[in-house]
Amino acid sequence: MKLLYFAWLKTKIGTAEEELSPPPEVDTVAALLDWLAARGGGHAEALADRNALGVAVNLEYARPEDPVGPDDEVALFPPVTGG
């Protein structure tokens, strides 16, 4: 699974992109965020406030209950501030 991080999530986690292999039971966005947070360090810090977190799966906004799989690209980011 390809993980992408933007804005301050990138800063806290310390990378813009990484390839990870969560176990098969990590099959939803919510489960993925729990699994990532459990890695500790920058991941735990970046995921401390889930309310302030946006998630996209394969370039589409996703909700906590949406499915994720090994071939997906998952992006985590703060609320958008363009314009």
Partner: protein, 155 residues
Amino acid sequence: MIRVQREDFDLGAELVALTAGNHKIGGLAVFVGLVRDVVGEEALGAMTLEHYPGMTEKMLERIEAEANERWPLEASLIVHRTGRLEPGAQIVLVAAASQHRQAAFEACQFLIDWLKTKAPFWKLEETAAGPRWVEARSNDDQAAERWTGRGPEAE
């Protein structure tokens, strides 16, 4: 048409090109966002715009398509810059052309309101206190909610 680019844009040339050859257009409404030199009480040195290549373009296309469904537009344009921009620089151009002014005005406002809340861009401000990621503004959400209906993420 939508574009995400680092380079500046020539406002006049963009608008001329947008309306060229279409004489059904009776009105063109335009919004241009610029980098201010203050943020709150602090002087702003510069602002860096980050985006999500691929998804940003996809969302902008969807926002533009939504505007074209809601209003009878003859032409529409979104140009958004990325990278480091100094005060006075143009950040974003949104334009909507229609036979009559009301549709043009409304569609233009809709485009920028939805862009601000739904297109994946993030601003990093540089002040004397150091760099700081801009937080989302709740009044931007309220502005977008004025255009009731399902957002592009709900499709």
